[in-house]
């Protein structure tokens, strides 16, 4: 597989609609690990009434040929209904949520709170020594906030991974 420096190396956010049957997530993950594809982020949950279908959102990266191959291989799985390469299709919304615990006192504590406010992060838990911030947004925004919190006493991060869909009227 071509290395990361190749000119057509790109990131792709792919949504996959699957039958919500036992083993389907293992099938998707096994496909990625077995064929040496990258998984940068992965989310999965039932999305239809009755829990018949689940939606998997996977952020992956590779050359155009590899990403086309990933989509073809996913489509080949028997319980897969539909696939959308949101990155290729055009404008889309891709957001994730993070919980971040910051343990700090004094100036660092107040600076963390001030930055959280600027980033529109919510405080969902507080003690005299700690905060848990909740933030929803793009991966880049979350990365930026995590980097800012690190010197201010960031102790723990829990992220959901990306949920995504196309903008406008287009559906998967």
């Amino acid at each position: 597989m071509p290395a990361q420096g190749d000119s057509d190396f790109r990131s792709a956010t792919i949504s996959v609609l699957v039958d919500n049957e036992s083993g389907v997530l293992a099938r998707v993950i096994g496909l990625f690990s077995g064929r040496g594809y990258n998984i940068d982020s992965l989310t999965v949950a039932p999305v239809e009434d009755g829990g018949q279908r689940s939606r998997i959102n996977v952020v992956t990266s590779g050359t155009q040929m590899v990403i086309e191959q990933i989509k073809a291989q996913l489509d080949r799985l028997v319980p897969v209904h539909r696939i959308a390469d949101l990155t290729q299709q055009g404008p889309h919304v891709a957001r994730e949520m993070a919980l971040m615990k910051v343990i700090a006192a004094g100036d660092r504590r107040s600076e963390a709170l001030r930055l959280a406010d600027a980033f529109r992060a919510r405080v969902v838990d507080a003690t005299t020594e700690s905060f848990i911030f909740e933030m929803t947004g793009s991966t880049d925004k979350l990365d930026a906030f995590v980097a800012l919190m690190r010197p201010l006493g960031l102790a723990e991060v829990s992220r959901t991974g990306v949920a995504a869909m196309a903008r406008g009227t287009r559906v998967i």
Binding site: D19, G23, Q73
Partner: protein, 600 residues
Amino acid sequence: MSTSLPAADADALQPGAEILLRALKDQGVEVVFGYPGGAVLPIYDAIFKQNAIRHILVRHEQAAVHAAEGYARSTGRVGVVLVTSGPGATNAVTGLVDALMDSIPVVCLTGQVPTHLIGNDAFQEADTTGITRPATKHNYLVKRSEDLARVVHEAFYVARSGRPGPVVIDLPKDILIGPARYSPPSAAPHRSYRPQTEPDGGAIARAVALLKGAKRPVIYVGGGVINAGDAASEALRRLVQLTGYPATSTLMGLGALPASDPRFLGMLGMHGTYEANLAMHGCDVMLAVGARFDDRVTGKLAAFSPQSRKIHIDIDPSSINKNVPVDLPIVADAGRALSALVAGWEADGATPDRTALAAWWRQIDGWRARECLRYTQSRAAGAIIKPQYAIQRLHALTRESGRPTYITTEVGQHQMWAAQFFGFEQPNRWMTSGGLGTMGYGLPAAMGVQVAHPEALVIDIAGEASILMNIQEMSTLAQYRLPVKVFILNNRYMGMVRQWQELLHGGRYSESYSAALPDFVKLAESFHATGLRAESVDQLDATIRAMLAADGPVIADIAVDEKENCFPMIPSGAPHNEMILGPEHEATAAGVADAGLALV
């Protein structure tokens, strides 16, 4: 065929095992290859009480899958396997991957511990669906008796539809006891799986235009044409006849075109013919049908067929643009696409560019004149037999017999020589482990072929190393009076390993010598079969004739030249136009790049 299966109405409650057999019968299953054990005893009890479905008791579960593959590949139907939980299932895994790689439709029923014990490390428990997930096209764990019939019908649909492959149904013992209601096969066998089989009309028209304009065309045929059934081979033959274009085939595609057709260039790839590989390298338009541009075919990817525009027909979209970028992809069943191409060519009134085609054929005939498969066989009494000659004589004498002949192989040099020297005129007559390269495939596969075609001549062309990997199946042959002929090219080496060690590892024959071999004649006799041996060229024909004349199973041990190598050969990592043609060219192998050494 008579049956004692209960003619119960669909509403009656029945034990799971009886539902299972009823579903198999409704899927047209006539024979199951299996091995009993604790978890599947309810199924064996149900088998005991009926006679619609025949059970062939193998001696190892791997062999059950290969036998089902042989059955499937020689009939075009789904092969069925029945094994117990734990080791029964794990032993079947090699066969499942073999079927996956070669796209063979197989349904494998595995026993499982009762649902309430799953996950408890119970006796003979294994995570079968976990282990076989990457080994199958799809798999199921049946958790409710009422799902059983639907899952079986769905499994057969998945196994035979689109690109065929193996499907596992894991059956906990309590599910086999039931009770539940039967449901017959439905018109909509799966809620979402609908492979595309009809080609796009616009793409077919563009393909006809590309083919019509070709100056140096080549048709590259793969196993998908065999899998698509007789109609696909017929359409291919018609296309070759209409266009007069040269055609080559992968290992798995042999027989789709008659080997005797003057437009057939022989097999391509690592041990393919000089003319086939140079035609692939030099062509300007390539029509690939049901082939997947495997590394054994392409050689060095960067130098693969550099000047050609490529049309690729495949039923599996993931096979297209996987290894080699193509110009015109056509997702479809090979037979339907080829028929559409033939119809398109005829409707268009297309004719090939006769001047360019004649020049191309002159060039190809020049390559053919190199006689890349040439070898020298001494006819002196006592002369050692060349393996190529043994296969040519086997081919000639089986043709002389006039009987329908099916060939299976093990894996290695003998397999490549069989592909090169046994001319296949029809599809579905050649069963070999192409993708996975499974030593031990040939004997059980031959068993499955013979079960499907009791009157036919079924021959396993074997090596003395491979045959030992599933030799226990001689016992199955004896039990069911299956007159399979095992034709061993015995060179006392794992020949292909030895060849690579000679060419690439300085002649250091590390662990590739077949020491302490059995006496194959006595071994055959101990399994109630006939044992024959040929030591020299003057004994060869008589030995083959005796083998073909025998009523029961035979092992013919043919002592062949220990040092013979399989040529032509494209060393790993080399392009098509850098073939080693024979011993006189071996010096060039010293120049194999380090990058090539790292490849398999």
